[in-house]
Amino acid sequence: MMAQAVNQPMSQTAMRGKLNSAELNAGQRLAVKYFSVAIILFGAQILFGLLAGLQYLMPEFLYNVLDFNVNRMVHINAMIVWMLYGFIGSVYWLVEDESGTELVGAKLANLAFWVLTAAVTVVVIVYLLVQTGPGEQKSLWLINEGREYIEAPRWADFGIVAVVLVFFYNVAATFMKGRWSGISGVLVLDLIALAGLYLAGMFYSPNISMDQYWWWWVIHMWVEATWEVLVGCIMAWGLIKTLGARRKIVTTWLYIEVALMFGSGILGLGHHYFWIGTPEYWLSIGGFFSALEPIPLVAMVVHAVYDSGVHRFKNSNHPALAWLIAHAFGNFFGAGVWGFMHTLPQINLYTHGTQWSASHGHLAFFGAYATINIAMFYIAIQKWRGDVFMGAGIRHAWRWKWALALLNIGVVGMTVALLVSGYEQSFVERALQGSTWAGYFEAQRGEWFVQGMFWRQIFGYVTAAGTLLLVWDLITIGKGETRPAEKPTEHQAQAQAA
């Protein structure tokens, strides 16, 4: 249905309430393609997460068919890739608006989209059907690299780099042709770092310490630094669009966030260097700087809530603003509070590599990144349907509200359940049993551990229900709506404050 809509003729421009790509600029037409694939991969993430979660409760389930390592790999890879698709889509969505000019090289960008999507499809099929290979280089080049989060085989790495270069060229060249702004300046510099860092994960070393040292450059510098700044840019733009927030205020906040985020996050990398063979000074450096990492996230909450309050929550897109607020709080709690809880080496010594990390990972990735991508999906669908009304009193509003509620309850429920299991595991396996294999399994058998895993699965189903409802809502919201979108206006109070 969506694919057909892309080809609708220009004559339907005036038809509000129907998907109409003539409403979109070239960057936005590309963005909705990225968003569509992102949603499919989001579904895959949830599906394979449920399978992996079930295997904790029923280890015989799909044993030797679709083993835990395969399900878990697809679960986390689908997540990383749908988030990247969401980010690329978001940037393409805003680039023409922000630069005030047409996208440079739309054809090349379109080709890159199809190349990337074909590559992702092949990688996933190989993950599922071939799964593992012999202990030779060719397995790492063709099947999977066996390195958590960046398992994609080496051939795909080169494809990803090529596509990211096209993306970067398009975005940077468009801003160069048009106008620069604070948001676009930060965005382009951040994209250079984001793309460059991926190279740190593209080599083989027999030395596991060296391997993990550079592997963390990719993982940490993405999710705890460059991705955070990227969503900071998207948030800044989103607040201008939905609330009508003043650009000067938003940009100043963005600079503050960049200073705090990179100020804490770059050396915060050290909290991954406690136990991998790296020198002891990382215990102090990593502990100190990672303890500061929540501060920019507090700034983001203050910023989002303050701006919303100043505008009395008057906005052009209720679901999008709700998800932007969910992002601010989710990022703070998931990345900030849950990360801080076990970032000091004295605590991390017992929690590193337990379900604590899983608890933190679930809330952080959802809170920081899933939420803001979903907000962008709502901004996109509003315009794609002919810039329709999406304020109070929208039809079937229960769908987006329940999707929001179920997804948040589901993820928070999983997070708390995993934390209970994590506590039990760190006490029993680590503190009491000295981390032997017998100690590991004693913890895994423990009643509280098993209960945590059970409730994680229940809340996984809640999350899945929320995802289905979200997809249904995104497909149907604004359908047949004839009222035009409310335009955000600068609130008087804010003008006075400024």
């Binding site: 012999p134 999977n144 390195r147 596991i208 310490s209 060296m210 503050i256 991998i276 010594l349 503190a431």
Partner: protein, 199 residues
């Protein structure tokens, strides 16, 4: 409209963002030069690959308040003393197999990975292998047929059959033995190793 105070000024924060980022980046790069030298195989913290020719012990270091690895006398893996090059080739084969078999999406290595199966950091020294004399053979048997030799300790969880060859199994064990000699700043805390000769 009153003048914007300096702490709310856009330009002040733009410059701050640039300087803070640059400063942190320079600090990270300098630290990286030092760390990379200290984790190169053959350094004090990350041993040479030929450590697999030796017995590996852990002892409490009261100054550092943590257990530290101690390299003991000759105890060649599978009874064969290897040169540094041969040892590196074997450990590398093991590491590559660990990657190709996607071990990290069930196990953790140095605490990183998935949490469905035990940490492998000190798997070589785990008490679960019983006696030192039978450890190597038990490990080979387990890797070749993990289902028949399942070690679930009262759970029904077991490792799948990953088509590991005997050569790969031996290489994995070499990699695990080498990894167990890395100085991990006392992680995991309070680890209780297998009883070994000479302790």
């Amino acid at each position: 409209m009153s003048k914007t105070p300096w702490w709310a000024d856009e330009n002040v924060w733009r410059k701050t963002a640039i300087w803070v980022t640059a400063l942190m980046l320079v600090a990270l790069i300098l630290l990286t030069f030092d760390s990379v030298a200290k984790i190169t195989a053959g350094s004090d913290r990350v041993p040479a690959y030929s450590v697999i020719n030796h017995r590996i012990y852990y002892k409490m270091d009261n100054d550092r308040n943590m257990q530290v690895p101690v390299i003991g006398g000759q105890a060649p893996l599978f009874g064969t003393v290897l040169s540094e090059e041969q040892a590196q080739a074997m450990v590398s084969k093991g590491k590559m197999t660990v990657q190709a078999k996607n071990c990290m999406n069930c196990h953790t290595l140095l605490g990183n990975g998935a949490y469905y199966a035990p940490d492998l950091t000190k798997a070589w020294l785990d008490q679960g292998w019983g006696a030192e004399a039978v450890r190597e053979q038990l490990m080979v048997n387990f890797l070749l047929d993990p289902e028949a030799n399942a070690r679930g300790y009262g759970t029904t969880r077991k490792m799948p059959d990953l088509d590991i060859t005997e050569e790969e199994a031996r290489a994995i064990i070499a990699f695990l033995k080498w990894m167990s000699a890395i100085d991990t700043n006392g992680f995991p805390r309070n680890f209780k190793p297998i009883a070994q000769e000479g302790e």
